[in-house]
Amino acid sequence: MIEIRDLTFTYPNQPAPLFDAFDWRVARGEFWSVIGASGCGKSTLLHLIVGVRAASAGTITVNGESVPRKQNRGKTGLVLQDYGLLPWATVRENVKLGLRIREFYGQDDRRESSAVSGQRSAVEFWLERFGLAALRDKYPAQISGGQRQRVAIARTLVLEPDVLLMDEPFSALDAPTREDLEQLTLDLQNETGMTTIFVTHNIEEAVFLGRKILVLDAPPHRSPLRVVENAGAGRAAYRDEAAFAEKARMLREMLKRDA
């Protein structure tokens, strides 16, 4: 599904590469957490998969197409910590943005723009699914952080992406909102089976969400990768189980050794 082979990436003006002969394979429908210290290159990895940054060497393919995917606009969803919403557009306009971009390029795909469930358009469907219907005419500055992140997620889902990449999406939110959105993310993944990569520096979040956890230490990152299997994730009750605490403790030890 996502296949990274021999990836090398170095930031301009940096002596050492961030990724050096890096291989990673994410199968269809998997939910991965990626954890590591700040500045270790977690976000860069997502940027490379979306194709907003270019690798110096190696190949990245998503669904068999090499990145950046020219003909497949908006099929890799990206959700960021600071939402990335347009401040001058209402909630509804923000959710509709991806469709408007498709129209702009004359790629008005009937399947996408007409109906996801019944006669309701995809935009209306996700607005309602995320409890945003009453806020549709508000601007991002008028709603809470949790609501903004819902808008950002809805905006990517409207395009029916086959991959969802989330870059510390809930880091700026308070604990109840955060757990609320973590649960929403789980539900979505269970419903759609969408391949999901969730980057975080929060150990509990990584363990709660990812059925596999990629642990990144100091760069350069190269194979073999450190992967923690976490088959218990994916259920709301997992947070309260002993296995959850055990996994979190294990991950904490690994990260402490790195530091």
């Binding site: 940027h47 979306v50 907003v52 606009r73 908006g74 890799t76 969803g77 990206l78 959700v79 960021l80 910590q81 600071d82 939402y83 990335g84 347009l86 401040p87 001058w88 557009a89 943005l97 991806g98 408007r100 971009i101 498709r102 702009f104 390029y105 508000k138 601007y139 500055a141 008028q142 950002a152 905006r155 990517t156 395009l159 990449l165």
Partner: protein
């Protein structure tokens, strides 16, 4: 600030002027009531025409400068390399009072509308250029990445991000430049021409010692500035409603 407050402020100015005219009691300061009468009387007899000529010159300059400076500013803001090349040139020419170039502009473009529009254009062009450049360069890369991830290429980014992001800056640049633009227009119309409010005030009425008419011209010039100011405010409300929500 409500419309009623603005109306009250105008009324207060009117009354202060009326009192000043009463106290001074000289013909070099006619009462506003007399000026108003002259204003209404002169409108169909030339004043209105001069107003239209001046308005056309300012509006044409604004339109021209926005039309040319916006794309130039967007290019400079998006390509740091191009900006690095031009930045010293802009830095050097930005603070030059463009009005001193007037004789040169007149030599090249003559004394007609073209030279007047060109000199105001020069003033506004740099204002708009710099704010558009800075506003587009200040866009956070995260915002651009997330819109790119929705499928936007360069053209869509321009349409859905860069243009709306720089619009408030353009309107602000116009608003702060209107005063200078009209001052410069007044100066350029005060010689070697026979149309425009500057001509009406300095050449026509001032030299005829027709004081109420001259004051009517001054009022017309002020009204021109105010109207343009209101139009920009109105455009901002229509085009950037998100700036006004609470």
């Amino acid at each position: 600030m409500r419309n009623r407050d603005i109306l009250l402020a105008a009324l207060a100015l009117f009354i202060a002027w009326e009192i000043a005219a009463l106290i001074l009691n000289r013909e070099i300061l006619p009462a506003p009531t007399d000026v108003l009468v002259a204003f209404v009387a002169q409108l169909p007899r030339g004043l209105g025409w001069h107003f239209v000529v001046s308005a056309w010159r300012v509006v044409a300059s604004i339109a021209l400068s926005v039309a040319l400076a916006t794309p130039a500013g967007l290019v400079l803001g998006q390509y740091p390399r191009v900006n690095r090349f031009f930045a010293p040139l802009i830095y050097l020419t930005y603070p030059i009072p463009k009005i001193v170039l007037l004789p040169i502009v007149i030599l090249f473009l003559g004394i007609g509308d073209a030279s007047k529009i060109a000199i105001i254009f020069l003033i506004l062009f740099f204002q708009v250029l710099v704010v558009v450049r800075d506003a587009s360069a200040a866009l956070r890369p995260e915002l651009l990445y997330s819109v790119e991830s929705l499928g936007a290429g360069r053209r869509a980014l321009l349409r859905f991000v860069y243009l709306p992001a720089t619009l408030p800056a353009v309107l602000t640049a116009i608003r702060v430049s209107i005063g200078t633009a009209i001052a410069v227009l007044f100066f350029t119309e005060s010689f070697a021409t026979n149309a425009g409010l500057g001509y009406y005030v300095i050449v026509d009425t001032f030299q005829r010692i027709a004081f109420p008419e001259m004051y009517a011209g001054v009022v017309a010039m002020s009204v021109l500035g105010l109207v343009l100011y209101f139009v920009v405010d109105y455009l901002e409300r229509i085009l950037c409603p998100y700036l006004f929500v609470k």
